[in-house]
């Protein structure tokens, strides 16, 4: 049996301590050890982006990272986006604009969008499409996702909080 290693990290504002094999992927650690199954695994080789989480505030592929590399990190997953039962503006825009169908890529899309809007609060369509190319969606053809991201950007600008959200 491989020796287990200790790991301590903060996910969605809550501190976790656990043990895993050194080879455990961060995605598997989140899903299997912490029961945060909202993060999805679509390819395990870093292309599809469904596993994208916010890692110290920035979008990162949790399938391309070992759990041990997240020691001491602050991670936000899809489970941590809504606050007090209220959708994050990006979640709200996805709902209102029908920007998800099967919902499998959605955790990655939300994380990638939040990271993107943190760096570009007033994007145009081309910039949105470029940013979203980090995550593959097979259902929507991207059109309503683009629309939702533009709508979320507008709403976040209007609310004067285009910057970081909560513990993101």
């Amino acid at each position: 049996m491989t020796k287990l290693v200790d790991i301590r990290l903060t996910v969605n504002g809550r501190e976790y301590q656990g043990q895993c094999e050194p080879r455990t992927l961060l995605a598997d650690f989140l899903r299997d050890h912490l029961d945060l199954t909202g993060t999805h695994v679509g390819c395990e080789h870093g292309v599809c982006g469904a596993c994208t989480v916010l890692f110290n505030g920035e979008a990162a592929r949790s399938c391309l990272m070992l759990a041990v590399q997240a020691e001491g990190a602050k991670i936000t997953t899809i489970e941590g986006l809504a606050q007090g039962g209220q959708f994050h503006p990006v979640q709200k825009a996805f709902h209102e604009n029908h920007a998800l169908q099967c919902g499998f890529c959605t955790p990655g899309m939300l994380a990638a969008t939040i990271d993107f809007l943190n760096t570009n609060a007033s994007p145009n369509e081309e910039e949105v499409r470029e940013a979203l190319s980090a995550v593959l969606c097979r259902c929507t053809g991207y059109q309503n996702i683009v629309k939702a991201v533009l709508a979320a950007a507008a709403e976040m600008r209007a609310a004067g909080n285009a910057g970081a959200q909560a513990h993101v």
């Binding site: 199954t37 679509g42 292309v47 369509e125 470029e130 593959l136 097979r138 259902c139």
Partner: protein, 788 residues
């Protein structure tokens, strides 16, 4: 987006019920399921295309850490029959109307005599963790004696070819003919003829969630639960009953949230049956989650047809005769039998009127992953052949491709139109409604007008820039039978419960059927409780394939609701002391027409209908408010569309940029316009992916050359254009709501619209692109060859 104005919920863009859980990480996909004591499975798969299995040694794997059980194909074959061939069901009417011969090999649950494609499973390991199962799978020693691989369906029919299924002595596993008129004579007499070969290449659905199965057996009650990421839970129940030798009543199949299907998950796979078998054998729940590499080499691929077409036409560009001999590169197995090929055959005529038609289809086994439906299911291949021919007729006569189409299209005044050949349900095809020429005119209007484009194209070409217009028009049979089921029940709280045989993967069915039920019962969508994709909801069901669920489940809901409403009215009439004829449904209650306030709620009526001491139903009436109906559609409804692509071709880089993409479509009554738009966007981008990027390529030894998203290119957001949609609304006369299917349609036309656009852009070089995908290297090579 056009909204249908009424006071109900049908026709409104209501955001989805499904979103709350999917946007907050509370959805549940099969990979998310954890059961106490659950084991994890990993399959050992063939690395060669065609070989005889000499031996499979599991001894090292069985000693690996965490391994609990392992079994190889030869041993399993002694215990279990192959996947039943009941998935291939040919309607009696069809078999009498169509000349055909099918010999369908039945796929063993694990290979035991030969392997027939790279990726075919030969053994399976169960371990405490997935990591351990994968480690052990690498220790399995498989001794194979390689055989020559069959990679080309036409070469596969020659006497010297290797044969996959030796019991037949041939790789020809399906053959049929459809015809009307006298093609031979008409072609001979036609003033002009064109003869071409087309190849629509191999690509696949590629849902973002791979396949997955969890099986759990309860020894106390001898019951089995199978959770599978699939589109057809009732098929799975039926096949599991046969293979596991259990009554259907002891099997429950559930599809949880499913991360896309697109046809790829539209039939029962060996893994769906092996996993529950293993769960029963070891007495612990077993989970298998396909990884992406496995998906590429074992989940079904699609398309991959070669068409040899000859078309005869007159000097005005009117089509007289169309003949097509086509070959389906079927891969090693044929789970859906005639489905794809027959779809291709009968969708060849499309929106056009001509008298002489002949098609022969040959389905050929090859050493590749099995070919099964993917969004469009044979129609993109048909549309590619016919729509390329339309452009060739135009080129030969110096006419505009749009003009040739308008001359050949069935005029609206001739609807309903009898095509003269049978559909795969065995009924003679009747295009039920619509205006095909108008769809094309609207598409041309939406691109800014044909003349304006041609002018712009000429001006651009003078400056060395190559713009092209590509059209793609098609008709599509949707909502096919045999049936769909619905159970409708009035809950004691007054909520309406509906269980159905449909099985969603992201279409938003909980929302759209809630809208329909809300209108039928005059409640709000939130008052509707939907149960889909679970065989415990309704015993017999069909499932979600073939653009059928909105049509067939709405029909079943209507059919179950009608007698139930009469019963509800009888009880209410008894309580209100009036005639049932004076009653109406309103706001979750039944009331006397024209007398506000004089009403009883559905909740009160449901309680009154209960059996027992406190029942308040009329004397002689059976207790309970529940009806189950099986809607058997008379035949298919006919959706149609016209696509128009404006592209620019970069002659140096071969890149095809899409400047504008217009889709004019008609799916009859629209339940939720926002969701219909979503279906069209998604399908169109899949079609464009097939046209330009995606390809399951194989080498001459049958080795698959893709295994990751680095070499199989799924379109990303920045690869794809904004799509312009135009809606037409000709309700189908065939069903209560006037709906036609919309799930597959938009994936059908993009490959040929793009091919036609690229040919149009390079028309000065007289280039033809008759094969997909149209990748940059092919464009550059074609231009280079033409200029040489």
């Amino acid at each position: 987006m056009s909204e249908v104005k009424n006071d109900g919920f049908v026709g409104r863009s209501i955001p989805r019920k499904e979103d709350q859980r999917l946007l907050t990480g509370k959805g549940q996909f099969v990979a998310d399921l954890k059961l106490p004591g659950m084991l994890h499975a990993a399959f050992v798969r063939s690395q060669v295309a065609h070989a005889r299995i000499k031996s499979i040694d599991l001894s090292r794997a069985l000693k690996a850490p965490g391994v609990v059980y392992a079994i190889a194909g030869p041993e399993l074959a002694q215990m279990l029959p192959p996947v039943p061939d009941t998935q291939l069901s040919l309607p009696r009417k069809w078999t009498t109307r169509v000349q055909h011969k099918f010999q369908n090999p039945q796929q063993p649950l694990l290979s035991h005599d030969k392997v027939r494609h790279v990726g075919e499973a030969v053994a399976v390991i169960l371990a405490e963790t997935r990591y351990q199962a994968e480690d052990a799978a690498e220790l399995v020693e498989v001794d194979l004696e390689p055989l020559p691989a069959v990679v080309d369906p036409i070469a596969g029919l020659t006497p010297e070819s290797a044969v996959l299924h030796e019991q037949y002595g041939t790789n020809l596993i399906g053959d049929f003919v459809v015809e009307k008129g006298d093609v031979k004579k008409a072609l001979a007499a036609a003033p002009r003829r064109i003869k071409r070969r087309f190849h629509h290449h191999r690509y696949a659905g590629i849902p973002m969630e791979c396949r997955g199965v969890v099986g759990s057996h309860d020894p106390r009650t001898d019951t089995m639960t199978i959770w599978s990421a699939c589109q057809v839970v009732h098929w799975l129940k039926r096949e599991a009953s046969t293979v596991l030798n259990m009554p259907e009543a002891r099997i429950r199949c559930v599809a949880l949230d499913v991360g896309g299907g697109f046809g790829t998950k539209g039939h029962v796979y060996p893994e769906d049956l092996v996993i529950p078998f293993l769960a029963r054998a070891v007495g612990r729940p077993v989970k298998w989650i396909e990884d992406r590499f496995e998906h590429f080499i074992s989940a079904c691929h699609s398309r991959d047809q070669i068409h040899d077409v000859e078309a005869g036409f007159d000097d005005d560009g009117r089509l007289i005769a169309f003949s097509d001999n086509f070959y389906v590169d079927c891969g090693a197995w044929n789970p859906i039998g005639s489905g794809i090929a027959y779809n291709t055959a009968v969708h060849l005529p499309g929106p056009y009127k001509f008298d002489h038609f002949f098609v022969r289809s040959r389905i050929v086994s090859t050493n590749k992953v099995a070919n099964a439906p993917y969004r469009g299911a044979g129609r993109p291949e048909a549309t590619f052949a016919m729509e390329r021919i339309m452009d060739m007729i135009a080129a030969e006569l110096g006419l505009d491709p749009a003009e040739v189409r308008l001359r050949n299209m069935i005029p609206a005044a001739e609807m309903p139109y009898h095509l003269g050949i049978p559909y795969r349900d065995g009924e003679m095809i009747v295009y039920d409604s619509g205006d095909y020429p108008e769809s094309l005119r609207l598409a041309l209007e939406a691109i800014g007008g044909l003349d304006a484009f041609r002018k712009k194209q000429r001006a651009a070409r003078a400056k060395g820039r190559y713009l092209g217009l590509g059209l793609g028009c098609y008709t599509e049979g949707t909502g096919v039978g045999p049936f769909e089921s619905a159970t409708v029940r009035i809950d004691p709280t007054g909520k309406i419960y509906v269980a159905g045989g449909s099985c969603p993967q992201g279409q938003g069915m909980e929302t759209i059927f809630s809208q329909i039920v809300a209108d039928v019962w005059k409640v709000e969508p939130k008052d509707v409780v939907m149960s889909l994709a679970d065989t415990s909801g309704v015993a017999m069901g069909f499932g979600t394939i073939a653009s059928r669920s909105t049509v067939t489940l709405s029909g079943a809901i209507h059919q179950a609701s009608e007698p139930l409403r009469q019963k509800v009215f009888s009880i209410a009439a008894n309580m209100l002391e009036c005639s049932a004829g004076d009653l109406e449904l309103r706001n979750g209650a039944v009331g006397v027409v024209g007398v506000p306030g004089n009403e009883v709620t559905l909740s009160t009526i449901a309680k009154a209908a209960r059996p027992g001491w406190d029942s308040a139903r009329p004397q002689g009436m059976a207790a309970g408010l529940e009806e189950t109906a099986y809607y058997e559609p008379p035949t298919v409804t006919w959706a149609y569309a016209a696509h128009a692509a404006l592209v620019e071709v970069d002659p140096d880089l071969g890149r095809v940029s899409i400047d504008k993409y217009v889709i004019v479509h008609d799916c009859g009554t629209v339940i939720n316009p926002m969701l219909v738009d979503g279906q069209i966007h998604g399908g169109a981008v899949q079609g464009l992916g097939g046209a330009l990027l995606e390809e399951m390529s194989y080498d001459a030894d049958g080795q698959i050359l893709v295994g990751s998203f680095m070499d199989y290119l799924v379109p990303g957001a920045s690869d794809m254009p904004h799509l312009d949609l135009v809606h037409m609304h000709h309700p189908s006369p065939l069903n209560p709501f006037g709906v036609k299917g919309v799930g597959e349609g938009s994936a059908i036309a993009p490959p040929v619209a793009i091919a036609n656009a690229v040919c149009d852009a390079l028309s000065h070089l007289k280039l033809e692109f008759n094969e997909t995908p149209i990748k940059p290297e092919k464009v550059v090579r074609a231009i280079w060859n033409a200029r040489r």
